[in-house]
């Protein structure tokens, strides 16, 4: 079907240009649903003489939102802000879309988003975003029920301190990783360090301190012991980032599934 459409598209455009004087939302919807991006861009390039500037930027913003070109979208959105915010379906979709985009772009979108025109859905998404940025100040009961567990997990990781994890690991290898929430790694680190410590102790007892193998064993144990302390410190920070991303991914899935929105209807 789409191949036929691609072939006939130039002919359709010739016919269309002669008869219409406005952007056809049905055609744009059809192109968007069938992911005919090149055809949609070609159609939008044809529009400038027929529609006002802000409408044109509004359609381009929608186009960039679908294709995931975030910086182009933000620039087109800035030029058609009022029109875009009046369209609740599109602004909701943009809100959902930016939950899982890189931190810089996400922040840029949510700071530029005008809350005054927001719907209950966009306010709820905003609350999720604020909770992800300032988890210790957020109230989990205000979030959707299905996201509460994820949020509590994420907030729990914020109570963990990297220096405590490092100190725990210095006392007992692997304990810091257990504290950070990496149970399997904690067990393996403990076994690995115990094995190296036993090997170093045995070679020290049997071969003496000046033996090359003893020096090698102690060096190896020292290296992995240092790695374990550093690893625990690093794990706390990594777990924090991972749980934040996981929370935002689940939030995005939740909103997409429970509140389906369309760009053109």
């Amino acid at each position: 079907m789409s191949k036929w459409f691609c072939g006939l598209f130039p002919l359709l455009m010739l016919f269309y240009n002669a008869t219409s004087a406005q952007a056809d939302k049905k055609l744009l919807h059809y192109l968007a649903v069938n992911k005919l991006w090149q055809e949609e861009a070609a159609y939008l390039h044809e529009l400038p003489s027929k529609v006002p500037d802000d409408s044109l930027h509004y359609f381009w913003a929608k186009y960039y939102l679908q294709t995931g070109a975030d910086s182009f979208f933000l620039s087109a959105y800035e030029k058609s802000k009022n029109l875009f915010l009046d369209d609740t379906g599109s602004s909701n979709l943009a809100n959902i879309h930016f939950l899982v985009r890189p931190a810089g772009v996400r922040q840029k979108w949510f700071t530029s988003y005008d809350e005054k025109k927001g719907t209950p859905l966009s306010q709820s998404i905003r609350m999720v975003y604020d909770a992800s940025e300032r988890p210790l100040e957020a109230n989990p009961q205000l979030l959707p029920d299905k996201l509460e567990d994820d949020f509590l997990q994420f907030r729990k990781s914020f109570h963990h301190k990297a220096w405590i994890a490092a100190t725990l690991s210095a006392a007992v290898p692997g304990l810091g990783k257990l504290y950070a929430g990496r149970k399997a790694s904690a067990g393996m680190t403990f076994i690995l360090n115990s094995a190296y410590a036993l090997q170093a102790y045995e070679s020290y007892a049997k071969l003496g301190p000046r033996n090359a193998f003893t020096i090698y064993s102690i060096g190896l144990f020292g290296l992995f012991y240092t790695v374990n302390v550093y690893g625990s410190w690093h794990a706390v920070k990594e777990v924090r980032k991972e749980r934040k991303t996981q929370f935002l991914i689940h939030a995005e899935e939740y909103y997409r599934f429970h509140y389906p929105n369309s760009l053109y209807f």
Binding site: A103, A184, M188, L192, Y230, H234, K241, Q246
Partner: protein, 138 residues
């Protein structure tokens, strides 16, 4: 009419080609051989002058080169991470310097065992149940 006829003819040709290429792909894909990607040497060209003349960096580069080109292929090492431990160490040394980079690489190595996947959220696991260790955006 001529344009319409030409379009139909071209579409017919391209669909025949498409069917042919799909058939070939489905029949012979399982027999195709994809060679392992060639691994590069530790790159210090972007580092400072002191880093470039530090012999310890070259020692690390040499050890990783020998491991990746000889031992890794001989023992058919299967890493639980998408970016293997040796490659990750190399990248970490390039990015963080010798001491911190080695610590980060060795930390991954000490956690490289089959059940480590339970420690990671599902978005960091691919279909082969490997941990995606290069996809974090923050």
């Amino acid at each position: 009419m001529f344009l319409l006829a030409l379009t139909c003819h071209l579409n017919g040709q391209s669909s025949e080609q498409y069917i042919r290429s799909t058939l070939l792909k489905n029949t012979f894909d399982s027999y195709s051989f994809t060679p392992a990607p060639k691994r590069k040497l530790l790159d210090l060209s972007t580092k400072s002058f002191l880093s470039r003349i530090n012999p310890a960096n070259y020692l690390a580069a040499g050890i990783l080169f020998v491991y990746q080109r000889i031992f890794s292929e001989q023992i058919q090492a299967q890493c639980k991470y998408v970016v293997s431990c040796s490659e990750y160490t190399k990248l970490s040394i390039q990015h963080h310097g010798l001491i911190m980079g080695s610590l980060i690489g060795l930390d991954q190595l000490s956690c490289c065992f089959p059940t480590v996947t339970v420690d990671y959220p599902e978005y960091l696991l691919n279909t082969k149940m490997q941990v995606i260790n290069n996809g974090l955006d923050e």
